[in-house]
């Protein structure tokens, strides 16, 4: 706390008009890089660095690798943290940072004093926001109100998770950070190579791109390290068989002794490479097998899930119509004569006529079900013979006793319009029984077990 106060004092002293500009800027950059150290190392569950850097355990890695491509999400975690809190009222449009020594223009815009004076010196005397002419003497005033507001915003030092107890305004934190005692402890903390686990002892300074360079340049070294690591884990379990080249070497008569296997630079012999290669092949094959198996299983699962109904094209003119919840259906059909219940469709043959069946209840006879068969339009219609000629068998199946099932057969007649080529998706004319079955009979005779009725319709060409 002592320290923080001292800092604040020195900050005041610095805040004289002219020495300010340089001071502010140099502070700013050091802050960002320093804070980055802190933030990346403190990306622990305590989560002082609330930034969305993913992969918290290895921030240096993502940092180094990403910088090349788009923007580096982890490169300025301190900025991230600040920005979430940064209110546009307190932001300088020139440095896009906290207003430092804010000034207000006569056109009503706020900037850091140093930013605006730098702008006024370099360019015509205009406001950076709206290009209104500004005179240094008459149009720019210190905005002490905003300065005090920002001073009121007390925040924990980004190193608070490391034990720093300084609480100060954002501007003061900028000045505090380079000299934060807890930050100093962190300084020797360096960026470790992501391959440190396999004994790469490289360390780089986080604010440089040494690690990135190292990752690019020392790839062969990393490969060798990986090889060694693999050797240690795999050699115990894997028994390499002799390299097949030994036989030919003997035939060639190159002495009785085999030449020692050529050595790689780091002392890993060829045999291990071969072993690894073989192992890789085996593993690859296994993976492929597993993948195929998985694919097949998934396919089966998909089919099972769909419980694929028979393709109507191959239904051979048979509709097996399972009507669930008959009670509810009857109620619905009774409620309105226009309520119709259609079955799924069928084809008499893959290139034949398309049919469906329909149930309804006539308002005049609410106790009987009507059943009709309807021709449907299909892509086959143009090559078929019209009117349709055939036999239609209707069967209301008794679930317990086949002998009780009700059978009806209809023969088509050419003069019946229902068997002419349909002009609508489902022919408006159907053929069947206005009084197909008495609903109370259906229930009494036990056709309707579990509220389910089964009607089978077979349509054959004659």
């Amino acid at each position: 706390m002592q320290r923080g106060q001292a800092e604040r004092k020195s900050a005041r002293m610095h805040s004289l008009p002219h020495s300010e500009e340089k001071e502010h800027n140099s502070n700013e950059t050091t802050t960002t890089s320093n804070a980055r150290v802190a933030a990346s190392s403190s990306a622990t569950p305590t989560g002082a660095a609330g930034g969305g850097t993913s992969g918290a355990p290895t921030p240096p890695k993502s940092l180094a690798l990403n910088q090349n491509h788009h923007y580096a999400p982890g490169s300025d975690t301190s900025g991230e943290q600040e920005e979430e809190l940064l209110d546009s009222r307190y932001e300088c449009a020139i440095c896009i940072d906290w207003l430092n020594e804010p000034v207000l223009t006569s056109c009503g815009h706020r900037f850091c004093r140093s930013c605006l004076s730098a702008w006024m010196q370099k360019n015509n005397q205009c406001c950076p926001m709206d290009n209104k002419r500004l005179s240094v003497e008459h149009d720019i005033f210190p905005d002490n109100y905003t300065r005090r507001e920002i001073e009121q915003l007390k925040r924990d030092c980004p190193n608070s998770s490391l034990g720093c107890s300084v609480v100060a305004s954002p501007i003061e934190l900028h000045r505090h950070l380079p000299s934060c005692p807890y930050r100093r402890q962190q300084e020797p903390q360096e960026e470790k190579c992501p391959f440190a686990k396999i004994k790469c002892d490289f360390v780089g300074r986080p604010e440089t791109n040494q690690l990135e360079e190292h990752l690019k340049a020392d790839m062969p070294h990393h490969m060798q390290l990986m090889l060694q690591a693999f050797q240690q884990t795999a050699i115990a379990t894997w028994q390499p068989h002799k390299p097949s080249t030994s036989g030919t070497a003997m035939e060639n008569g190159h002495g009785q002794q085999l030449p020692p296997p050529p050595q790689y630079a780091n002392g890993v012999d060829e045999q291990i490479v071969q072993t690894m290669y073989q192992r890789i092949v085996v593993l690859e094959q296994r993976t492929r097998e597993q993948e195929t198996r998985l694919e097949n299983l998934q396919k089966q699962l998909r089919i099972a899930r769909q419980q694929a109904p028979v393709d109507p094209r191959y239904s051979n003119g048979t509709i097996v119509w399972r009507i669930e919840h008959l009670g509810a259906l009857v109620a619905r059909l009774r409620a309105n004569a226009n309520n119709l219940e259609y079955s799924h469709e069928c084809y008499t043959s893959p290139h034949g006529y398309k049919f469906c069946a329909r149930l309804n209840i006539q308002p005049r006879k609410p106790h009987v079900l009507s059943l009709h068969v309807h021709l449907m339009q299909s892509e086959n219609d143009y090559h078929l013979e019209w009117p349709f000629k055939g036999r239609i068998k209707l069967c209301m199946v008794h679930p317990a006793d086949a002998a009780l099932s009700q059978h009806d057969t209809i023969m088509t007649k050419p003069e019946i319009l229902a068997f002419h080529q349909p002009r609508e998706a489902i022919s408006t004319r159907g053929f069947g029984f206005l009084e197909y079955a008495n609903i109370s009979n259906i229930i009494q005779l036990g056709f309707c077990a579990d509220d389910r009725l089964l009607i089978k319709i077979e349509i054959n060409i004659v």
Binding site: N25, Q67, Y71, I96, H109, N123, C126, P128
Partner: protein, 199 residues
């Protein structure tokens, strides 16, 4: 001062990355080197313009004195537009010159360029030839701009007639781009273009 430029660019980068436009893929920005001084922008051709469907790449150089001086921006993708040089990609846009303001950002610059594509200023041209065509033969201007968008920026409109004329010149040993430039300049008059090339 360079420190200020870098820290600002870093912040602006985040601004662009979080912006609506990047979600809609209408603008994009990428780093070219590690020093944050050179960037690569990309803008989508605005709808209802001959540039629709094209992706235009921009070179953005951030001066040491940024944001007190504007970034230097030019088109890398060739484009047929009165305010953009068809040869160098140099842009004539007031905010990139005298009317720059420190409060502007990369995002606003890219959006302004998109707006420039939608609203050309033929009276303040960068490319006099294009500007003349724009004012005098607007239909041909539209055709040429669409053709260039197709040829260089992946736009959807193809013009077999233009392609066959270019092929004719290519058969005479002219480089494809030169052939396109000359034909565009000569309002797709093959004879005049040939004359211009070989006289």
């Amino acid at each position: 001062m360079a420190n200020m430029a870098v820290s600002r660019i870093k912040r602006e980068f985040k601004e662009v990355m979080r912006s609506e436009e990047i979600v809609q893929c209408s603008i994009k920005i990428e780093l070219v080197n590690d020093s944050w001084t050179e960037l690569r922008g990309e803008i989508a051709g605005p709808p209802d313009t001959p540039y629709e469907g094209g992706k235009f790449i921009l070179e953005i150089k951030v001066p040491e004195t940024y944001p007190f001086n504007p970034p230097k921006v030019r088109f890398i993708t060739r484009i047929w537009h009165p305010n953009i040089s068809s040869v160098t990609g140099a842009i004539c846009l007031d905010i990139l010159k005298d009317n720059w303001a420190a409060a502007m950002t990369l995002r606003t610059v890219l959006l302004s360029l998109q707006a420039l594509l939608a609203a050309a200023e033929p009276d303040d041209p960068q490319d006099a030839v294009v500007a003349y065509q724009f004012k005098d033969k607007y239909d041909l201007f539209l055709l040429t701009a669409k053709h260039w968008t197709n040829a260089y920026a992946g736009g959807p409109h193809t013009f077999p007639d233009c392609d066959s004329k270019i092929q004719r010149l290519k058969d005479m040993g002219i480089d494809e781009h030169d052939a396109r430039a000359v034909l565009s300049k000569e309002n797709w008059n093959l004879e005049k273009a040939t004359e211009g090339l070989f006289s």
